[in-house]
Amino acid sequence: MAHDKAKSAGVRIAQMTSPASAALGRFAQRGLPLSGVVIGILLIIGPFCATIVRSMLAWDASGPHVSLSNFVGILTSPHFYQAAGNTLICSASAALLSTGLGFALAWIVSRTDVPGRGWFEILNLVPFFLSPYVGAISWLYLAAPHSGILPNLVKDAFGITLDFLPVYGLPGVIGVLTLFYTPYVYLFVVAPLRQMDAALEDAARVHGATFWFTLRHITIPLLMPALLSGALIVFVTSAGLFDIPLALASPKGIRTMPTEVYGLVQFPSDLGRAAAFGVIVMTATVALAILQRRYLSRRRFDTVSGKGYRPRIVALRAGGRSAAVLVELIYITLGVVLPVVAILMVSLSGLWTGRFNPAALTLKNFDYVLFNYSLTQQAIWNSLALALVGATIGVAISFLQAYYIHRGTSRWRGLIDGILSVPLGIPGIILGLGYLILAIRTPLYSTLTIILIAYIARFFPMATRTISSMLLAINPELEQSARANGASWLQTMRYILLPLLLPAIIAAWLLLFVIFIRELGATILLYAQGTETISVALVLLSERSAGYVAALAVIQLVMLLAAFVLFRMTRASLVQS
């Protein structure tokens, strides 16, 4: 209808959109972002309520009744305290170590003139994309006493037996956690390190401070919010990570929190106790999240602004330069090169004996896994389907939530933002337990759909954050001017906001894809025959053949590295805030 009038030249064309499309626009503008929020809240509340209700139910001869016996059972069992203690030790150590290492790597890459910085910058991020379970089993191939590649190499070369490498047990768990989570801290720290006003450090130097004094009293305090956020994320996520303890602690009978929950769900299962366990973990994470919000809102850290300062590049002396290169090389060797090489060696060997024989190279493991074994074939398709569909749905929900939180007008935005971040701290295995309880007597039980729902519920906040951080950097006037110039809300989304947000949307999609391809904690409780994923298949095969496990791990690795390459190709940014 706008055309007709516009066709006659000289007639004003500033008339309004039709009432029908306006009504649709109004509905879309209000309803769509809200629906993203509502879905997000339902995804969280569902398993929460299910877990809480189930934890307070106990069965006796007369049927179910409300009881605290599950909690009493757990809190009086020494196993609980062993598991909690071990998990605390592991995650606190991993948080401390990866914060130190992550800061060092970020500083080397962003503030020094170390040669090859560009390469290190890329390689430092690779462990972020790898599967922690594969990382743990690859370290078993590398360092297990008697059968590991490294002890055998040393034995063959020097005749020394290296059976003290502590790959099993808490030291092994801590080590692999640290390698795997260092990039998280790195991502938190590298942006503020780059954006820090060099004058702040220069001022300390000209007033007499040494390099180390400046680092300790100026640089690190200024980075405190980023370091604390990074350390907290590592602490919480590594406490809930099931993959590494399953591979490195369980074989030695060492209890941790996630493996204990897994044990309670295994036959003969005690869902009531598992749920009580879950309630305790959820309470702790929610309390921690509230404390962190309080802390961050109380303190102001305005010294690191978004202004594009040119950071001070430190010209290292020869000794310092060697040390910096050495730190980088050690991290990349331990975190990327050795695990990948070990997995490749095992996957290409016929019968794995702990020694790589280049003469006996074979592709039969790949042939079997890809073409002859229905479990792994099914698992590959399931993982791909879950990751492709899940990432797409997750990003759509996350975009709507980010829009609601940062562009909406609701008074409750702050609270909603807080609620929607809750899954960040909830271990996958606990959320998986919640969905297991929720679905157990419904048609959803043992379907791919329930796994998909659990994935999205556990990980949408990561996508929401990625999109939010870019949305915050986009001036709302860009959208407002589209509206004022006659575009409806949907047109504004299509022509203005979504194109501008595209890098963040791609980054969020790839992030979810990677996470879903390797997820284990929630899947291990929710899979059934026919809905196994690659990670589940790796666990199931680990008792059969190292070669099959390694071949499947290589296939998973290819998917993850493909995502990483795509990620580098787009201008997408993973920088956390």
Partner: protein, 381 residues
């Protein structure tokens, strides 16, 4: 017949009443400027007009169409109001070319001969040859032109400008001001400007609305607003010196002139802001005078009974080029003076002469003193 009619408009943010019952009307083809310090509510009014903010109460009518009415629960969305808006940040879309930016209002309206119209308007704003460039490759002044072209391309009858010149340097600002004025005369749209810069408001608008704390402080033609403040806020915002004193009495010559006494006992004469002001002796009074209207001279021994002026002392002097700016202490109050260079330096005692017809007297109620102290009143930041 009012083209834009605003009645009883209210909008608050939390406990702050950003717009506190404002009523205005703009006739067709008129240019109005909403002037005031930051936080006075001027931008909120503009955003309510554009539909980017939802008021709590009131009535807005544009071109005979009700776009907002709290009583009837009418609130048209921005795209239903058919306006042109130039944003402070220009809001030029970085992922589109100049032509795509400017053609956008036509595209969403489904207009066919877009290229032709875009070309015409780009020539009009002086960007005839840059249409294929990415918008982010342009300078600030060019982005401003893109924003202007985009706001005008669909020939809206009302165009809103939110601090359109504030990101330009001084020279470019004056140039653009002239161009916008010419465009407005040529295309005959009604325009509402929001600005904190009084010279911009006076240069562009036929009617200036001075705002303070969500209310209209003064409304009138630029010359009247600029020369005759009717409140302490207006005087301070416009850069007048404000001296506090008490009313002393009438000048017995039948004029509107009134005497006021400064705290140190000096008697000064000035004109009442309006005849409704009744000076009762002893009531607090304010004397407002522009910096350019204060006379300074070297003290001479007073020989006769003529008012010899006020004794003052130079506190600070700074050379401005053609003139000099002085800060003069008068009985404990500070007076800023812009004066042909006299070569005075700090510490010099001078005689201050205030021509009564240049001085404006107001009641000394302190309630509307929004701008504290004499420092921050010139031109707002």
């Amino acid at each position: 017949m009012a083209f834009v009619k605003i009645d009883g408009l209210r909008k608050s943010f939390g406990t702050l009443a950003a717009v506190d019952g404002v009523s205005l009307s703009v006739s067709q083809g008129e240019t109005m400027a909403l002037l005031g310090p930051s936080g006075c509510g001027k931008t909120t009014i503009l955003r309510c007009l554009a539909g980017l903010e939802t008021p709590e109460a009131g009535y807005i009518e544009i071109a005979g169409k009700v776009v907002y009415d709290s009583a009837r629960r009418i609130n048209l969305m921005p795209e239903e109001r058919g306006l042109g808006v130039v944003f402070q940040s220009y809001a030029v879309w970085p992922h589109m070319t100049v032509a795509e930016n400017v053609g956008f209002p036509l595209k969403v309206r489904g207009v066919r001969d877009r290229a032709e119209r875009v070309k015409r308007i780009l020539e009009l704003v002086g960007l005839g040859d840059g249409s294929a460039k990415l918008a982010t490759d342009l300078s600030g002044g060019q982005q401003q032109r893109v924003a202007l072209a985009r706001a005008l391309v669909h020939e809206p009858r009302l165009v809103l400008f939110d601090e359109p010149m504030s990101n330009l340097d001084a020279q470019l600002r004056e140039h653009m001001r002239m161009e916008v004025k010419l465009l407005q005369q040529r295309l005959a749209f009604t325009a509402i400007y929001v600005t904190h810069d009084q010279s911009e408001a006076f240069a562009l608008a036929e009617t200036v609305v001075l705002m303070n704390r969500g209310r209209i402080e003064a409304l009138g033609p630029p010359r009247e607003i600029a020369s005759t403040p009717r409140s302490e806020f207006a005087a301070r915002f416009l850069g007048f010196n404000v001296l506090e004193g008490v009313f002393h009495g009438h000048v017995p010559d039948g004029s509107r002139h009134v005497e006021i006494m400064l705290p140190d006992g000096t008697i000064v004469r000035g004109a009442r802001a309006d005849s409704a002001l009744v000076p009762a002796a002893g009531r607090p009074a304010l004397l407002c005078v522009r910096r350019e209207h204060v006379q300074l001279s070297t003290p001479k021994p007073a020989a006769n009974s003529e008012p010899a002026g006020i004794a003052g002392a130079i506190r600070a002097a700074s050379f401005l080029g053609l003139q000099e700016e002085y800060v003069v202490d008068v009985g404990g109050q500070q007076l800023r003076v812009i004066h042909p260079a006299m070569g005075y330096s700090a510490g010099t005692t001078v005689t201050v002469t205030l021509a009564p017809e240049r001085c404006i007297l107001l009641h000394g109620t302190r309630s509307d003193a929004a701008l504290q102290g004499p420092h921050q009143r010139t031109g707002d930041r």
